[in-house]
C-alpha cells in the first residue's frame, strides 16, 4: 500500500540548519529536506552517539551545543533557513532558543522555524482551541520553558524583524517518536495502564509525525507564515481510548484498565498512605507490592470486577498457564495472575485524559494550505509496521 502524498516543496540551493536534528522528529525532517526538498542540510550535533539516523543522509554534521552561542553562530554561517527543534532542560531550551534567534538576526536568515508545542496554552478548556487562546504558564517545566522560548521568538520578530514562524504540534506519534509511541508501547507491554473512565470520551489531538514535518516545510516557505504561530494537528481528534486501543491492537494485548475517579482517588490515597510521599512523578509498583496492597483496598471488590471485565477470558487462561508453567506455587487467582506492575496517574495526566479540547487547524489550512494526510488508522498502520521492524512488538 502506498503512503499518502504531499505536494513537493523545493528547497534546491537553500542551505538549511536543523537543531535537534538527531531527535525523533528531526530525523523525519532531515530525511525530507535532503531527499525530497533537495536542500543542503546541516545538523548541529551535541551528542554524536545519537547521530545514527541522520548520518544515513548526505548532510553536514557540525559538533556543537545550542547553549553555546559561538557554536550556534558558526553553524548558521551561510544558511538561509533554520529549523529549531532542539530543547533540553528549562535553561537549555530558553538559552538555546535565544542563541538561535540571535544568530539568525546576525546572519540575516530568511526564515526561522521555531517548533513550539500545544503545551504553551497550559491546561486547555473543553471545546474548540485555536491560536487566539491565551498562552499560560502551567507550572510544568517543559511547557513553561517552551512558552518562554516562544515568547522570545515573537520578541525577536517584533523588535528586530527576525522572520520567525512557529508551529505548535499536538500529540505527535509515529515511527521513532519517544513520547507518544515508544513510551506507550513499552508501558502497555510491561505494565497495566490505568486511564480514567472519562478517557473514553476525552479527546486526544493526535497527529502523525509526517504531517508535522509537512507543516514545518510549509511555514518555512510561505510568506504569510512570518510572525505567526500555527497549531498543527490531524483533521479531527480521536478519543484517548481509541488512541490507546490502537496500540493495544498493534500489541495484541489488553493492558488498559479504566477506573472511575473515586477508584483513582482510593488508589492514590492508599498509595500515599503506604509510601508517605506525594507522587508527582509517575509511580509503578512492583508486582508483589501491588498484590499485597491491592487486596487490602476497600475498593478491591470493585477493582477485581473492573479488571475482570476488561481482560478477556482467554487472557486469564493464558496468564494462569504461564504462571503454572513457570512453576509458581502461588494460587492462581485473578489478582495473583496479574504479573505486570500497575502505573498510577498523576493529577496532570488525569486532567489531560479527561479534557475534551478540540484543536482547530483552520489557520494553518487558510494561511499555509496545510492539509493533514494521516488519520489515526493510516498513521497507526505505518507505526505498526515500524514498531514490528524495531522489535518493539
Amino acid at each position: 500500500m502506498n503512503q499518502p502524498r504531499y505536494a513537493t516543496i523545493n528547497l534546491k540551493g537553500k542551505r538549511v540548519l536543523v537543531t535537534g536534528g538527531t531527535g525523533s522528529i528531526g530525523g523525519h525532517l532531515v530525511e525530507r529536506l535532503v531527499m525530497e526538498c533537495q536542500a543542503e542540510v546541516r545538523v548541529l550535533i551535541r551528542n554524536f552517539a545519537r547521530a545514527s539516523r541522520v548520518a544515513r543522509f548526505p548532510i553536514q554534521m557540525v559538533p556543537g551545543d545550542i547553549v553555546d552561542p559561538s557554536a550556534v553562530h558558526q553553524a548558521m554561517e551561510g544558511c538561509d533557513i533554520v529549523f529549531h527543534l532542539a530543547y533540553g532542560s528549562s535553561k537549555e531550551t530558553t538559552q538555546g532558543t535565544k542563541n538561535v534567534l540571535k544568530a539568525a538576526l546576525e546572519h540575516k536568515l530568511e526564515r526561522v522555524v521555531h517548533v513550539s508545542t500545544i503545551s504553551v496554552y497550559g491546561q486547555t478548556a473543553d471545546g474548540d482551541l485555536d491560536e487566539s487562546a491565551l498562552r499560560k504558564y502551567s507550572g510544568e517545566s517543559y511547557a513553561d520553558s517552551k512558552l518562554k522560548a516562544e515568547k522570545l521568538a515573537f520578541h525577536y520578530f517584533r523588535k528586530y524583524g527576525v522572520p520567525v514562524s512557529i508551529i505548535q504540534p499536538t500529540i505527535v506519534y509515529g515511527p521513532f517518536i519517544g513520547s507518544w509511541t515508544v513510551r506507550i508501547i513499552n508501558q502497555l507491554k510491561n505494565e497495566r495502564v490505568i486511564l480514567p473512565e472519562e478517557a473514553k470520551e476525552g479527546l486526544c489531538n493526535a497527529v502523525y509525525v509526517d504531517d508535522v514535518v509537512e507543516a514545518m516545510l510549509l511555514v518555512a516557505t510561505r510568506d504569510k507564515a512570518v510572525g505567526e504561530a500555527f497549531l498543527i494537528s490531524a483533521e479531527e481528534p480521536v478519543t484517548w481510548w481509541e488512541f490507546y486501543a490502537a496500540y493495544e491492537q498493534i500489541l495484541g494485548t489488553k493492558s488498559v484498565i479504566f477506573a472511575s475517579q473515586s477508584d483513582l482517588a482510593d488508589l492514590n490515597r492508599q498509595y500515599k498512605r503506604e509510601h508517605g510521599t506525594i507522587h508527582q512523578v509517575l509511580t509503578t509498583f512492583r508486582r508483589i507490592d501491588v498484590l499485597l496492597w491491592i487486596t487490602q483496598l476497600p475498593a478491591v471488590a470493585r477493582f477485581i470486577r473492573l479488571t475482570e471485565g476488561i481482560i478477556p477470558r482467554s487472557w486469564w487462561q493464558h496468564l494462569k498457564n504461564t504462571i503454572i508453567l513457570h512453576g509458581s506455587t502461588r494460587q492462581s487467582g485473578p489478582l495473583v495472575s496479574e504479573e505486570k506492575p500497575l502505573r498510577l496517574l498523576t493529577d496532570a495526566q488525569n486532567r489531560e485524559f479527561k479534557a475534551r479540547t478540540r484543536v482547530r487547524i483552520d489557520k494553518a489550512k487558510r494561511l499555509l494550505g496545510y492539509q493533514p494526510r494521516f488519520d489515526l488508522e493510516e498513521g497507526m498502520r505505518l507505526t505498526e509496521i515500524w514498531a514490528k521492524y524495531a522489535n518493539l512488538v
Binding site: Q3, V54, F57, P58, M61
Partner: protein, 359 residues
C-alpha cells in the same frame, strides 16, 4: 614529547631473550577512545607480560586523562613519536587509519594488534599482511569475540557433529546506539568507511565465517541514503549449504542473539552476555547457562575484561614464541572481504514508513 629513536636495537635484544628471562614487552596504545578505555588499557595494566609505556592520541587531553587514571608514564600526540619507545603497538583508531598506521609500525618491526575491522578494504588488508611478513613483526587483529569460551564451545560443538547437520542461523544484533565514543568518527564516512556493517558487522561476520565456513552467495540490504547505514540485513548461503539471516542495527534494540538450528537441536547464543541455551529438537525443555573452562580443579567463566587480557597475552605469546596469534591477518581478512562485497552489491532496505524510496 618523546625523543624519536630510529628502529630500536632494544627491540631486537628484548625479543631475543630466552623465555626464562623474558622482560615485559614495551607497549604503546595508539588511539585512546572508548575501545582503549574499556578494553585495551585495563588489560595491559593487569598483564605482567607487557609494560604499558605510552598512550597516543591526537586529542592529547584525552590521552593525559587516561594516562593519569591508569598511571601510564608517557603520552604522545603523534604515533610517530613512539617509534623508538615501544616494541609493540595496539592500534585502536578510526577505521580509515587502521592500515596506514599499522603498516608504518609493521615496516619498522613494531608488532601490531589492530582493532576490528582489520581495514576497510581487502587491498589494505593485503598490504598489512605483506608488511608484517617482510619485517617479521607479528600482526594480530582484535576480533575479541574469538576469545569467548562460549564462541569456542559452539565452534567445537559444531565440529564434533554432536548437533547433526547444521541447517540455519539467524543473528539479530542491535542496540539504540550507546557506545561511549570519544570522537565522532563512527558517523563520518571518510573515517568510519561504513556504518553498522563495518563496525558491528566486522565482529558478527567473523563469527559466522569462523563457525560455518566460507559463504557461497548473499543478498545485502541497508538503509544508507547517501551517508552511512544505521541498519543492514544479509541473507547468506554458505558453501556447506547452511542458510542464514543477519540483521544489524544502531537504531533498534534487537534480541542480540544467534539462533542456530540443526538436525538435532536449536542453540541460542547471546552475543554480549556469555549465555547459551540448547534445546534438543522436539523437546520442550532446554538448558541455559554459561560456558566455563577448567583450570586444574577450578572451572572459570570468562568476563569481558578477561577477553581483552586473553587477546593481549595471546598476541604477546605469538610475538615471543614466533607462533601465530589466534586471529592473524589472513583470518581477519575474510570478514573484510564479505563486508566489501556487501557494500559493492548493496540494495536499499525497504522501509515502508520512509517517504523517500530512492537514493
Amino acid at each position: 614529547m618523546l625523543a624519536l629513536v630510529e628502529n630500536s636495537k632494544s627491540l631486537k635484544e628484548s625479543t631475543m631473550m630466552t623465555s626464562s628471562e623474558i622482560a615485559p614487552l614495551k607497549l604503546g596504545i595508539v588511539g585512546c577512545g572508548a575501545a582503549a578505555e574499556q578494553g585495551h588499557i585495563p588489560a595491559a595494566v593487569v598483564s605482567d607480560k607487557v609494560e604499558l609505556a605510552v598512550l597516543v592520541d591526537t586529542n592529547i587531553a584525552r590521552a593525559n586523562k587516561l594516562a593519569d587514571r591508569f598511571s601510564v608514564p608517557r603520552v604522545a600526540e603523534d604515533y610517530k613519536e613512539i617509534f623508538g619507545q615501544a616494541d609493540a603497538a595496539i592500534v585502536a583508531l578510526p577505521h580509515a587509519l587502521h592500515a596506514p598506521i599499522s603498516i608504518d609500525f609493521l615496516n619498522r618491526g613494531i608488532h601490531v594488534l589492530v582493532e576490528k575491522p582489520m581495514a576497510p578494504s581487502t587491498a589494505e588488508c593485503d598490504r598489512m599482511i605483506t608488511a608484517a611478513r617482510q619485517s617479521g613483526a607479528t600482526l594480530a587483529v582484535g576480533l575479541v569475540r574469538r576469545f569467548r569460551y562460549i564462541d569456542q564451545f559452539i565452534k567445537a560443538l559444531f565440529d564434533s557433529g554432536f548437533l547433526g547437520k547444521i541447517e540455519s542461523f539467524d543473528l539479530r544484533e542491535g542496540n539504540i546506539y550507546n557506545w561511549p565514543i570519544a570522537s565522532d568518527f563512527y558517523f563520518r564516512k571518510e573515517m568510519a568507511c561504513g556504518g553498522v556493517l563495518m563496525d558491528t558487522g566486522a565482529h558478527a561476520l567473523d563469527t559466522l565465517l569462523w563457525w560455518f565456513g566460507d559463504y557461497e552467495s548473499f543478498d545485502y540490504f541497508d538503509d544508507n541514503m547517501g551517508g552511512i547505514e544505521a541498519d543492514c540485513q544479509i541473507h547468506l548461503k554458505m558453501k556447506n549449504s547452511v542458510r542464514g539471516f543477519v540483521d544489524l542495527s544502531r537504531i533498534r534494540n534487537l534480541r542480540n542473539t544467534i539462533i542456530i538450528k540443526s538436525e538435532k537441536a536449536t542453540v541460542e547464543v547471546h552475543v554480549h552476555r556469555f549465555q547459551i541455551s540448547i534445546q534438543p529438537k522436539g523437546l520442550h525443555k532446554k538448558i541455559v547457562g554459561d560456558v566455563v573452562e577448567s583450570y586444574g580443579a577450578e572451572w572459570k567463566a570468562r568476563s569481558v575484561k578477561d577477553l581483552f587480557t586473553a587477546q593481549l597475552e595471546d598476541w604477546v605469546e605469538a610475538i615471543q614464541n614466533g607462533g601465530q596469534p589466534l586471529v592473524p591477518g589472513e583470518e581477519a581478512r575474510k570478514s573484510v572481504e564479505l563486508i566489501e562485497a556487501c557494500y559493492q552489491n548493496r540494495k536499499l532496505l525497504e522501509l515502508p514508513w520512509q517517504r523517500c524510496k530512492t537514493v
